[in-house]
Amino acid sequence: MSARILDPAGPLAEGAVQLAPAAPALVDGRIGVLDNAKPNARLLLETAAAGLAERIGGEVVRVTDKGAAGFNAATACEPQVLEGLSKEVRIVLTGSAD
């Protein structure tokens, strides 16, 4: 016998977003680094950002941590840090893991 069942995931909440699709080309070379407070994240991300800048003819224009509330890898970035990054750079490297 056929059955109609309800969806267990439900809708996304208002304001929830999915990951943006990958950019087809790195047309704007303004690069930022957002240190997520994992050990050695800054070293890894700055090195990768410098390599990327050289490869695409871009520039690393901002390196930042997550602000006071983001002192730990498990805590969120201050909104004003994200807002600043969104205005100043086109590409952000972040999120070194364990």
Binding site: M1, S2, A3, R4, I5, L6, D7, P8, A9, G10, P11, L12, A13, E14, G15, A16, V17, Q18, L19, P21, P39, F71, N72, A74, T75, A76, A97, D98
Partner: protein, 356 residues
Amino acid sequence: MGENAHVEELAREPTHDLENESPEALYAFLEERQWGDGLPVVAPTGDRVEEMLAGGDPGADPDEVLAVLPPRGGAATRRTVAVNAVMAGCPPEVFPVVVTAVRALGQQRLNLRGVNATTHPVAPLVIVHGEVVAEMGFNAEVGAFGPGNRANATVGRAVRLVLLHVAGARPGPGDAATQGQPSKYAYCTAENAAASPWGPYHHDLGVDAPSAVTVHCGENPHNFHDMESDDVERILAKAASAMTTFGVNNACISSGEWFVGLCPEHAATAAAAGWSRDDVAEHLFATARRPAREFRAQFDLLAWAPWMRDAADDDLLPMTEEAGNIRVFVTGGAGRHSCVIPSWGMTRSVTLALEA
């Protein structure tokens, strides 16, 4: 279209038509969407979901959003939570416990985004307190953390299914736990207030309600046993021994809590010596310690309270920054095994009154 977007598209239909509700058909349905916990589920048909909703507040709006759950950003409505409770096998009468637990998951201080994102094997533990323990048939006695009881098993599983489906906490993209842990299937127990020498846990927190639910995001229970002591300090020395390991996040994150699940016999020994719940916590705070130099030798990064960072190398430091972070409750039956449950660290437990 990426894999996650494909799965999200499949999930957007409010209902799905299956050829039948056999375990095989449901397995295929879940597999296509990368859902489920790997175990058979009950088909969440409209009638069953309505029955589940009727087990909760009859005047509530089924579309009320109880919480927004990261990382997916899913809206945990009453209806969606009821769908998952049906799938888990919950009897409708326990639905208010699931609802209250989901509300707790949405509290900012619990930090569910971090709980799901971390490589640490953390799982939300649901602890049920008060009158509903007996009324709804939760097991707070022998095997309180184990199998064999429908209320414990299905409430714990329902919370996990909500995390998998609504929060998107699928191992890999939504749950980064390196190894996971068995409690990620179902993690629910109940306070054995009838055998506790102290008042109900939630009353001590100021939650003035007949029943309540606590959610603590932590590891599996770490057992400690003492079969022979009538001396509470000798018993708690074993608890302190279990706590003072460098393998837990509490060693390097001082804001983390510890839940201490005392069996009734250990709790009775403490009470016979005139000890309160707070006395147990204070004693563990004072004795579960190691020299600061040992912590410093083990960790490059220590998320410690300032007073701990300033300690001399020979100072004995506790496994959490204040005694109030050690939370004691009574659970289990006959026998002399208790447990400590370390925290993930960057999370705080939440205790809420059970919704009417």
